[in-house]
Amino acid sequence: MIIAFSGGKGGTGKSTVSTNITVLLESFALVDLDVEAPDDHILLSTELVKVKDVNLFQPVFNHEACFACGRCVDACHDNAIISGRDGKPILIPELCGGCRGCKLVCPSREAIGEGKRLVGKIYENLTPYGFPLITGELLEGEKKTYKVLLETRKYALSRYSDLIFDTAAGAGNSIFKALENVDLVVTVTEPTPFGVRDLQKILEVTKQLERKTVVVINRSGTGNESIVENLCNKYGVKVVGRIPYSKNIIKGYFENEPIVTTSLPEAEIFKNLKDRILEEACR
């Protein structure tokens, strides 16, 4: 079973909710798919240990074996290859998306060699709470968010069958990939105009993907919840939980201590939420 936490807007408390829920669930593995800003390991006090590199293919041109036919230049959709004065290709590595198109069209067997470019890393660790954490990370200065997410997701699926995905903000194609085929999407939002607008975007995405979706309102009591409810009604999704604005939860966040490991009253809220989420996921 895969349960994905998403939010549309950044900073709505997605990571706080997904880490706490995973601690409670015990038997799931948590996958941090927010590859541009992976933070769950910090909230879970876990040192990252790398298990895998994410590499992109990158052509290495061997001009000796090149016929200067120019097919690679035409095939490259990213405009990453320019033709030199002798008609032989020159790569602009920053633009190359690693699709292999050039190598596939090249008529010479040896003109294009296998190169690679490191764009990200995948980590797997056991958290102090007993469940595994898989983290995808895009290297600074690299742009292939999608590729790193794809590889991290694949790695996680090959290792475990019960997974919690913590996804990034936004609604781009990497979010689509993250939410593809999951059993339940839990959208964490906040009751502000920003939160509502971005919630609508993510609900649009889950509708297109035909994924069962529920909503959690974080920082409940600080804004206008009726607009969130109206939107949920419009999309036919349920609000399964409300997490009040709480100094204790914020303190837990600051100190990297999941609130569900304490005996504070807020822990109960998460326990109820966990039950509701499981109930919805199993329906």
Partner: protein, 290 residues
């Protein structure tokens, strides 16, 4: 001159701070603002942009389409698609258009002609209009599921440049991906907004590494500095380590949420609040760079 506000982590209050700074900058400068958070643009809410004056779509993007009548179901395309967006659909294969990045590989490997073609898609739009505050505003908005927010941001900045203003302020997205790269590239100064948490500093650290790639000068702003004051020495150490002066400490202030609910920059409607006092100080400090 271009100033970019960025944070690495989302939700640290970047847009609220940017909106109030823009309000102050707009009073004394020839200014244009750009919302480069193409995935989740929100600044227009705080700047009250209701009537857009113009709109331009980003073109030149394409997605692959498989002609189901001609496809023989060999599956070669699905095996080679680097984005894994070709799926089996009965006896034939089908492209998931939402995921397709238009790279061309499927049509290269398909053994038959005229099975795979490409169609144009519009990944997003750039809109511009006047704010209530004497400056123009450009917003990049990516449609759900589309890649390449970087190109959209690049184009939005180009468009903003054509207004020929002295100062461009860009509100960047969270993260460090292609749209952030497009935002910070070409900036004269990046304002890095953090809150006093380990998570925020970790993400800001990743952002700073991107800034190092481009050699961009940076300054720091600490939002809600008073909610975790024990952590402030670490924050100060961080900014020292990345050679950024801290130009402002913004306290936690309930008025910020109230202002957001009313769709106004906090500094306009709560000018005497703790938040606004801190923003005015940041503005004075940033003026030295302009």
């Amino acid at each position: 001159m271009q100033i970019t506000v960025s944070s690495g982590k989302g939700g640290v209050g970047k847009s609220s701070i940017t909106a109030s700074l823009l309000y102050l900058f707009g009073k004394e400068n020839d200014l244009i603002a750009v919302d480069a958070d193409a995935d989740t643009p929100n600044l227009d809410i705080l700047l009250n942009v209701k009537d857009w004056e113009g709109e331009e779509s980003l073109s030149g993007e394409r997605v692959a389409v498989i002609d189901g009548d001609r496809c023989n179901g060999c599956g070669l395309c699905a095996r080679h698609c680097p984005y894994e967006c070709i799926e089996r659909d009965g006896k034939v294969y089908r492209v998931n258009e939402v995921l397709c990045e238009g790279c061309n590989v499927c049509s290269i490997v398909c053994p038959h002609d005229f099975v795979i073609s490409f169609k144009e898609t519009i990944p997003g739009v750039i809109r511009w209009g006047k704010t209530d505050y004497d400056f123009e505003f450009v917003s990049a908005q990516l449609f759900p599921g589309r890649p390449n927010s970087g190109k959209l941001v690049f184009k939005a900045k180009k468009l903003a440049q054509s207004f020929n203003k002295d100062l461009m302020v860009v509100d960047a997205a969270a993260g460090i991906g292609c749209s952030v790269v497009a935002s910070v590239n070409g900036s004269d100064l990046v304002v890095v907004v953090v809150e006093p948490t380990e998570v925020s500093l970790s993400d800001a650290g990743r952002l700073v590494k991107v800034l190092d790639h481009f050699g961009v000068r940076r300054v720091g702003v600490v939002n809600k500095f008073d909610i975790n004051s024990d952590f402030m020495p670490v924050v100060e150490g961080f900014f020292k380590g990345v050679k950024a002066d801290i130009v402002g400490y913004v306290p936690y202030d309930k008025n910020v949420v109230n202002a957001m609910l009313q769709g106004k920059p906090a500094v306009e409607i709560f000018p005497e609040s703790l938040f606004s006092t801190a923003i005015k100080e940041i503005y004075e400090n940033l003026k030295n760079f302009v």
